[in-house]
């Protein structure tokens, strides 16, 4: 799985390099954004359920090439700081301009990112072992700025991230594992150039 991901990233990088060497028309693009992951969590039994709000910090940098006037593809690195898991998704994504007129200063983009969130930066309490999982992140973004210059970016997307946690055994426990699916609305602000 991780090898597949690394392979995809390598292929993407190679593709970019290849494309750039053969066509100077391909322009490097970068989207760097910070924001929050907003959601809720419901825990407990059906008769005693507790619902809590959740906000987590997220940061992401997308580096790629503008393949066509409307489509950019690239690789991405994120940091998602959930309350009990610090995950680092690596993946690939695309930015597609929904407006046909690419010369407008305000443009609406469709974004689609996917990858695997690693727990490399996570420091777990004794007895806990956090492993990452797959991530998908589709959404929309507003790019505000002249097409040929740097611009501000506002993005609103849905982020789904899975993780697995092994928990310490107590009492009569034999096995205690948790499968987490973080379902969040992701709102980010950043710059693009």
């Amino acid at each position: 799985m991780k090898r597949l991901l690394i392979g995809c990233l390598m292929a993407l990088v190679c593709q970019n390099t290849h494309a750039q060497s053969f066509s100077q028309q391909l322009r490097y693009v970068n989207y760097t954004e910070l924001g929050g992951l907003f959601g809720r969590v419901a825990s407990g039994t059906s008769t005693a359920q507790l619902v809590e709000n959740r906000v987590s910090f997220t940061a992401q940098t997308f580096n790629g090439v503008q393949l066509t006037n409307r489509l950019a593809v690239g690789g991405l690195v994120s940091v998602d700081w959930y309350k009990a898991a610090l995950l680092t998704p690596l993946g690939a994504g695309l930015r597609f301009d929904l407006a046909r007129d690419s010369q407008r200063n305000v443009r609406l983009l469709a974004i689609a990112d996917a990858g695997y969130g690693f727990a490399w930066l996570h420091k777990a309490s004794s007895g806990y072992d956090v492993k990452g999982g797959w991530m998908i992140n589709p959404g929309i973004a507003l790019r505000v700025g002249k097409p040929s210059a740097s611009a501000f970016v506002l993005s609103l997307s849905y982020k789904r991230q899975t993780a697995d946690v092994q928990k310490p055994l107590t009492g009569n426990d034999i096995q205690r594992d948790e499968h987490r699916i973080y379902n969040r609305i992701c709102f980010r602000i950043g710059v693009a150039f």
Binding site: G44, F57, R176
Partner: protein, 427 residues
């Protein structure tokens, strides 16, 4: 207009995703319920039966290409292992309350709650009970459930163990409190605020036990440990075991591992080292103390390997491998600890060490440099309780079956055979 239409298609999925974290914890645990037997009822229950499938296997023992797999509190599966790739069940020896095994020559010793029973296994298909030492074990435990013997009323009070698996929704937060840190501090604070709430004399031959064994053979004695004492049996005449000395050892004794003329005892509070120069009366040399957890021990040369695990009657929260220098037996020293998941039995076949991680599989290590023990392989997806490393193979027992591995390449253990548990009781 075109943009608006595209937006129209994009927006619904934002609503459909229901931005609620979904965290489910799967927990498997033991549940106990009381059960009572009369001594007569238990003693009359010993018999040889046709081979039966494994249901709830306990410890393993091997001798002369035969395997003895304990069926917890039920008896012993006798298996012909002359071909490790295709072990053949021979018979099932029903012994109520059995948990441990030792074999010298053709005599098998087994506990049956409060009694020690000797069997003649010259013909493994037709095992005969030849002797019984009565009322020698006052109490014990199986799978964390305790039993005790009331000698006055000839009654055994036991706890029946059942396994429960449940899945609960959690709040995804257990384990970390990331309130310290840089930018994340603000966000995590926001989140918190917004929450709504051997020297075997002469030509005798002994079998080989795993590290979880409570029985050990040395010289003319069978050593058995229960929760607080070491009970010796004189087996000069193997078919006539006689009760020997009893040595008080303190509470929480779990395992016994004989190595050369020493006995290494695993307890919930530490590792006891006994000098066994006089096999009739072992003498305590030292104690290596640790946090209150379960700890089987194995020894190779001047190094003892002790696994500490939490849970059940073990208590504690420690799960690790301790490497202990026993060059000076009177003063064992901890060299290094390595974190583990939930280590149970272990076995050493230098330069390799094999550790059972309970429900989390089996691990093999390179122990040539004890200060830098390298994990060579982690086999997940199987349950492992105890191992016996042989010359080129590894016997392993777990809740989901008995496995044999070819250990020629310790980086890639090759499964030779498996006797599955049938039916699976809880996994």
């Amino acid at each position: 207009m075109k943009v608006n239409r595209l937006l129209f298609f994009l927006l619904p999925f934002l609503y459909l995703t229901a931005c609620t974290d979904n965290c489910k914890e799967t927990r498997k645990y033991r549940r106990y319920s009381p059960v009572t037997f009369t001594a007569n009822q238990l003693r009359q229950g010993v018999q040889i039966e046709p081979a039966q499938p494994l249901v709830n296997p306990g410890k393993i023992y091997t001798k002369d290409q035969y395997l003895f797999i304990n069926e917890l509190k039920q008896g012993i599966h006798i298996i012909d292992n002359r071909n490790p790739s295709a072990p053949t069940p021979v018979a099932f020896l029903r012994i109520p309350g059995n948990g441990d095994i030792a074999v010298r020559d053709n005599i098998l010793y087994a506990d049956s709650y409060m009694d020690l029973v000797a069997f003649d296994i010259s013909n493994p298909a037709s095992v005969q009970a030849i002797n019984r030492v009565q009322d020698v074990f006052p109490n014990g435990s199986f799978e964390g459930g305790w039993w005790s013997y009331d000698a006055a009323n000839k009654m055994v009070y036991d706890q029946k163990v059942s396994y429960v698996s449940e899945t609960i929704d959690t709040n995804c937060d257990e384990g970390v409190n990331p309130t310290g840190g840089w930018i994340g501090w603000a966000f995590t604070s926001m989140a918190q605020n917004s929450a709504t709430s051997d020297k075997s004399g002469g030509s005798t031959t002994n079998g080989v036990a795993g590290s979880m064994a409570r029985f050990a053979l040395y010289d003319n004695y069978l050593y058995t440990v229960n929760q607080s004492t070491m009970q010796l049996f004189d087996i000069k005449n193997p078919s006539e075991p006689k009760i020997g000395n009893k040595i008080q050892m303190g509470w929480g004794i779990e395992t016994i591992f004989p190595y050369k003329d020493k006995l290494f005892i695993g307890s919930t509070t530490g590792m006891f080292i006994y000098d066994n120069v006089n096999p009739e009366k072992p003498v305590q040399l030292s104690v290596f103390q640790h946090a209150r957890v379960c700890d089987p021990v194995v020894v190779n040369d001047n190094i003892a390997y002790v696994t500490l695990r939490s849970g059940n009657q073990c208590g504690g929260f420690t799960n690790q491998l301790d490497v202990v220098d026993i060059t000076n037996l009177a003063n064992p020293k901890l060299l290094k600890s390595y974190p583990m998941r939930n280590p149970h039995g272990l076995g050493v076949a230098y330069p390799n060490l094999f550790i059972c991680e309970g429900a989390y599989g089996l691990k093999s290590f390179d122990i040539r440099d004890v200060m830098n023990i390298n994990q060579l392989q982690h086999i997940e997806g199987l349950d492992s309780f105890d191992v016996i490393p042989l010359e080129k193979s590894l016997l392993m027992i777990g809740k989901d079956g008995f496995y044999q591995f070819d250990t020629s390449n310790p980086r890639q253990l090759r499964q030779l055979s498996r006797i599955p548990v049938t039916p699976p009781t809880y996994y």
